[in-house]
Structure formats: structure tokens, C-alpha cells
Point group: C2
Chain length 311, copies 2
């Protein structure tokens, strides 16, 4: 388990390194949802997603000079590459071979070495651990690590500090690191409910909460490439089973409509994973409170891919 002090410690570590992203509001969204909605646009974060918060908090905790390895569908990869560069160590990144080109290129651009694998045929955890042992690297997990979870929670801490009290906090759920950190600080600061959103095809956390144990599903096929986890993390599930009130799901088509809404009405670029919170609210999947916070997790989508998704 992690607690409020872990998120506050992480906030001190990442201060001056991560952007304090603004709070964005939209009257159109408020009208559609029937609540005052406060958006935390982590697409404006360094690396285009919230992931730097956790990666930096973790890597800063390692002995100086420790080179790192990460396996990631993309945004965690970029975050580890950036964080490693900032700490002056080398990052090796294991990425699925079907990861978006923009993400692979951006990761290399941040100075990391990229090694690819087959998302549907190879177990990335086993591969990652083998590579870490062989090269003597420290594995930076994308979510199932208390320091990573605590770092991600700083997004919710900033949102609550800047927007004021919230009745409800909504975040995307992949492996569960973002919502674990956010729920920890949100509940400590009096937010009434924390609701997670998964793609319909990848509802491993929803199933796990219902079963009261970690359920493994087939690797989900969804456009939300950041939320394709097949089983909740051990540490994240421990937190989320206690603090998360509900998980709802959205379809890929609903995600695309939310991406369009964000583009046309809020003027923000969101990748599919980043749009699931807005999708769930627009579709009425979540009973809104009066004051709702939503973490928009990332915006790493190429312009051509965006155009293709909207066709």
C-alpha cells in the first residue's frame, strides 16, 4: 500500500522536472455532463503523457549511475527515456513491434535504445526481466511499483490543489498505476468517489474488482494502446480494490467520438487512452457529482492516425 505521504514526497521529487499542467474547463462539456468538469491535460506533460511523473520518481530513487530498462506500449517508454536522460543514465526500452511509429521515434529521439518484441506472442515481463539480468539494468515497471504509483498520483494532487474540492475523480485504467496513486491522494483529500475507465475489450481491472482477485484476460485488442493490460498489477490491485469505487467501460467507437469532441470543442489532442474519461462522461456511464475532475492521460497520436481513426 501507499499513502498520502508517498504522493507528497513524490511531488517534491518531480517538482521542477514535470510540467505543472494547467486545469482546463469547457462550458460545452459542463452542459453535456451536467456538472462542473475540471480537466487535467497530461497530454501537455513532457513526453506527451503523465508517465514521466512515476518514471522520474522511481529513477530518482535509484543509486546514482544506475542504468535502466523498461517495457512499455509507448508512453512509459518515452517517460523512462526522458527521466534517464535527466538523471544522466542509459535507458534500454523493450517495445511491442506494433507500437505507434511516433512513439518509437520519440523514444529513440530522447536518447534511449529500443528493442522490439511481439505483443501477441511473447511475454514482455519475462523478456524484460531476462534482458535486465543479462545487461545488469534496473527494471522500471510501468505501473506495478509503489514509487511509480506514487509519482502518478501527483497528477491528482495538482488537480485538487488547483481546481479545489472535487466530488468525483475519473481516470483511465490500464495496469492501474495512475488510478492507484490518484485514488490514494484523492481519498486522503476528501474526494467522494474515484471511478476508473477501461476499454470494453480490456476490462481486466473491472473483472478483478468484481471477482475480488486479479483476473487475467486475453491481451485486449483496442485502439487504446495505452490501456492494453491483461491483468492488474499486484501492488496496484491491492490499492485499487480498497480505494476505487467503480470501473466503467467504453467502446472504441465511443473513444473516437470523445477524441473528436476534445479536438473540436476543447482544442486538445488526446490519444485514445487519454479520451476514455471524457467518453465515459459523455456516454452517461458515470453518475457525475457537482464537481468532477478528469485526468486526460496523454496525447501521443500522429495526425495521420488521428485522421484515420475519425474516418
Amino acid at each position: 500500500m501507499i499513502g498520502e505521504s508517498d504522493i507528497r514526497s513524490a511531488a517534491a521529487v518531480v517538482a521542477g522536472v514535470v510540467h505543472r499542467t494547467p486545469v482546463v474547463t469547457s462550458r460545452t462539456l459542463d452542459e453535456r455532463v451536467g456538472a462542473k468538469v475540471f480537466l487535467k491535460p497530461e497530454n501537455l506533460q513532457r513526453g506527451g503523457a503523465f508517465k514521466l511523473r512515476g518514471a522520474y520518481n522511481k529513477i530518482a530513487s535509484l543509486p546514482a549511475g544506475t542504468d535502466v530498462l523498461a517495457f512499455s506500449s509507448g508512453n512509459h517508454a518515452q517517460a523512462v527515456a526522458i527521466a534517464a536522460g535527466l538523471r544522466g543514465v542509459k535507458a534500454t526500452i523493450l517495445m511491442p513491434e506494433d507500437a505507434p511509429t511516433a512513439k518509437v521515434e520519440a523514444t529513440r529521439g530522447y536518447g534511449a535504445e529500443v528493442v522490439t518484441y511481439d505483443r501477441y506472442g511473447q511475454d514482455r515481463e519475462a523478456l524484460g526481466e531476462a534482458l535486465a539480468a543479462e545487461r545488469g539494468l534496473e527494471l522500471v515497471r510501468p505501473y506495478d511499483d509503489p514509487l511509480v504509483m506514487a509519482g502518478q498520483g501527483t497528477a491528482a494532487l495538482e488537480l485538487i490543489e488547483d481546481a479545489g474540492p472535487l466530488d468525483l475523480l475519473v481516470t483511465p485504467v490500464g495496469g492501474g498505476g495512475l488510478i492507484a496513486g490518484c485514488a490514494t491522494i484523492a481519498k486522503a483529500l476528501g474526494v467522494g468517489r474515484v471511478v476508473g475507465v477501461e476499454p470494453q475489450a480490456g476490462n481486466d481491472t473491472q473483472q478483478s474488482l468484481a471477482a475480488r482477485e486479479r483476473v487475467r484476460i486475453e491481451v485486449p485488442r483496442t485502439i487504446a494502446d495505452g490501456l492494453q493490460s491483461d491483468v492488474p498489477g499486484q501492488h496496484t490491485f491491492e490499492v485499487n480494490s480498497q480505494l476505487v469505487d467503480e470501473i466503467v467501460t467504453v467502446t472504441d467507437a465511443e473513444i473516437v467520438e470523445a477524441m473528436r469532441f476534445a479536438f473540436e470543442r476543447i482544442k486538445l489532442v488526446l490519444e485514445p487512452s487519454g479520451a476514455v474519461g471524457i467518453a465515459a462522461l459523455l456516454e452517461g456511464r458515470i453518475r457525475p457529482g457537482a464537481r468532477v475532475g478528469v485526468i486526460l492521460s496523454g496525447g501521443n497520436v500522429g495526425a495521420e492516425r488521428f485522421a484515420e481513426l475519425l474516418r
Copy 2:
């Protein structure tokens, strides 16, 4: 002429009505430009553009209950519609019949009556004045009005307050209202240079500054529909001929590349007019200072239109 006190008065009038948009930075942009760049994303403003600042400052100055009329290529229209609604008066908007559908619909959505005209065949000023006289409405000009200019200048005031001292301020130039207000406050606050950017096909202000008198050009055909002015305003030219250091131009193709850059690297949706400052900097048209402010004027572009422009 207007002065610092006019912009400061406008700031008091629009406070709590307009969004104080954040300052956004991008390390990728800094590297490409070779300077620290501070973006003012007025695409996140109410109505999707900076125009509400001037429109509200003007309409708030009228006797209570004064209904208004505006002629506009789009963003001013939405701004007047919103401002009129906030002041409890009726807005009639004269729009070119080829204005983007999203802008026409949004304007109607804000409660205004829309009357259309032929951009290439009819004189909008004459039409607007006739309609105003016939219906007894007060004409709210899109730029050539000291109160409108002063309102637009609040964008630069906020940017300088939030980002700190700037060596250079870059803004788009259509009729010249935005840059006139921004140059007034920027020069008063010690910004070294103010540079405007026009589409290559619509460089009426560049030609006018060179000729030292207002030059009328053919109605420009450019994708930057917000910058299709054919002659500088009288009031705006008076200010700009004294305070603007330089006007540079960018092509439509360069604007599209800047829109793509903003989408993929900054995660912001910019309409063509809103991207000209980034385009000029990326193309090296402006000698950058160490600390550069850029007003991103708006983001009203439909997702389909965006995809079409990038093809």
C-alpha cells in the same frame, strides 16, 4: 491611439469572463527555434479564440440593453454572440457564406442570428452599416475600435505577467487589432520587439507599413480564414505603424506544417490563423530573442477540415 491604461482597464472588465489561458512550453519547439518560447494558447479561450476579450470589453461599454451587430469571418462572430449573451442583449451576425460550418453553427449555438453574404462580391462594411442602421443595432467592429484593440491586448498582458520578461512577442495579423493591443502593452512593459505574421497572400499590413500608408489589396485567398483582411484598420494602423517592428509572411503550406507540429508535438489544436506565429518561427522568418512569446490566436477548425488540410 491607445495606451497601457486602456489595456489595464480592459483587463479589469474582462476578468472572470474570459479564461486566463495558461502559458504552454515545449522543449521540442525551443530546440527548433533556438530560444525559450512561451505560448499563449487562446485556442483554449471561450469561443475558441482570443476574440472574446475585445468583443466583451466593447459590449460592456455600451448602455445596458443595447443590441449589437457584427460582421466577421467567424471567431469575432462567436465572441460577439457569447459576449452579447453574457450582457443580456441580442446579437445579429453578418457572416461570409463560405465561412467554416463549425463557426456558423457555433455562432448560432450561442444564440445569435446569422445573416450571410458573399465574401468576394459584397462589401461587408457597407452591408453591416446598412443592417445596423435599419435594425437600430450598435456595430461591434472586429478590430478597428480602440475598445476592441484594448481588449485583445489583455492576452499579451497575461502572457507577460505569467511568463516573465520577453525579448520578442509574435502575433498573427489580420485587421491588426490583436497586434495593436498586444504591442501597446508589450512595449509599455519593456518587450524589445513586436513582430506580426501575415499569410503571404494577405500581407496588407506588411505592404502598408512599407508604404507608410494603408494599402488595400485584393481579398486574399488563404487557408487562414481569420487573416483575410484586405486593408489595415484606421485605428489599428495608427498604432501598428508606430509600435510594430516588423511583419513577416508565411505560406499556406508552412501554416499546415505548423498545425501538424502543434498537433503532434504540443498536443494543441490550432486553426490556420492560430498557427502562423509557430510557422514563422519554425521557418526561421523571425530572428528570435532569448525569450519569445507567441500568441496562438485560435483553434476553431473541424476535425474533418484538419484532416483534409494535412493530406
